[in-house]
Symmetry: C2
Subunit: 245 residues, 2 copies
């Protein structure tokens, strides 16, 4: 049996997220549907992880087993011609027999975009969090440094999430100010808890607004108490950028 790996870009605006749900359209649901149509097989698509409603992906990774003989390029073309324009299959490739998009991922990179200027932008309205108030980026960067390394991230997890451990290792976390008022936060970790990036960004923005200082940020992290942290940043600023294996 072949094991095929997909690299997928999507605009999450019109979806209930990655994972199949009865209530409405999801990325996984749509791609599985088109794969079934093309292969005439029952397909189970395994993503590297879920993304929430409204979250985007620049390079989500998924795999599925199939007996189809279609070559990878033809499959890519067929999928892209059937899928709506806000989901793009960037690559289809043969994977090792045992490759598992979720279990084998070593780290993930997320990017969060904030539009930090007075006026919002009609073009970025679905791809960034607009914050008109001036943010103190220097303080945000200092607080960000506290995140590097292994920590229990209970303070930055969604209340409805239950996993064995809430310890994760942050490999890299950095802010960049790019052209025209866009702040980009890039964070790489061996794994993320549910809504962890958005809770971190929401709390770092409180630091940028001067409502929490760097010491306060450290205390929130060490408290392991979600109640202490800032609010969750909106989904539409978040991008799954890379999954490393």
């Amino acid at each position: 049996m072949r094991n095929l790996k997909l690299i997928i870009e999507y605009d999450g605006t019109n979806y209930l997220g990655w994972q199949i749900q009865r209530q409405g359209p999801t990325i996984q649901g749509l791609i599985e549907e088109k794969l079934r149509f093309i292969t005439n097989e029952e397909i189970h698509l395994i993503g590297s992880g879920r993304t929430d409603a409204g979250v985007h992906a620049i390079a989500q990774v998924a795999n599925f087993k199939t007996n189809t003989s279609i070559d990878t390029n033809s499959l890519k073309r067929a999928l892209n011609s059937l899928l709506p324009k806000d989901i793009l299959i960037k690559k289809v490739e043969e994977a090792e027999e045992d490759f598992h998009a979720r279990k084998h991922s070593k780290s993930k990179v997320y990017e969060y975009r904030i539009l930090n200027k007075e006026n919002p932008s009609v073009f970025l309205r679905q791809y960034s969090w607009h914050i008109p108030q001036r943010l103190n980026l220097v303080e945000m960067m200092r607080a960000t440094e506290m995140l590097i390394g292994e920590h229990d991230f209970s303070s930055f997890r969604s209340s409805g999430s239950f996993t064995k451990t809430s310890v994760r290792r942050i490999i890299r976390a950095e802010w960049k100010r790019s052209q025209s008022g866009i702040l980009r936060f890039e964070i790489e970790a061996n794994g993320f808890l549910r809504q962890m990036v958005r809770a971190i960004v929401g709390t770092l923005v409180e630091v940028g607004r001067g409502r929490i200082d760097v010491q306060g940020f450290r205390e929130i992290l060490e408290s392991k108490n979600r109640q202490k942290a800032g609010s969750t940043a909106p989904a539409h600023g978040l991008f799954l950028k890379e999954v490393k294996y």
Copy 2:
């Protein structure tokens, strides 16, 4: 009577263009409707010019006469709270009594964006023309130089357009390759014929594909015959960038 000037940004994706039409929503139509609601007056909004269905604006300019006493900041806030998120009033300011957004414009700047790489982008799908084939930018730049100065642009006008003269003066026209495969064409003129930028871009792309050479481009311009030029580039790559007075 006050004469107020608006600077407007819009995502043209969901509109039939600037100018009011019975068949569906337009930018002018929506802004006039909200202005009537706010001022309780009959409002006639004058734009610097039409933009076609699907064309975007970074800074469209418009003006209208009113007796309302609302200050400009409050009017801006009121409009933005009533308008959908794909139309943004960037500025409201008092204009000279005789200021006319269309008649007084000295020049306009348009930008056209081409995504020139193999894969399309879900995030740029409504804001660029995706051309996967490699384009010869050097040849396109050489052909672009022919446009500078005063010419009869009959070869690059939409067949359904009738204006007194088809002579326009191109002040500036240049291509820039920016990050991640985006080609930006910026063109400034004292005025544009209907679909002129899109016809020029469509023909320059033919040059980039090697189907027309620089001499051929010059001949098309000099022929004053629309049949000779390339096809019209899609609306969704075009942005009205600036109107100068």
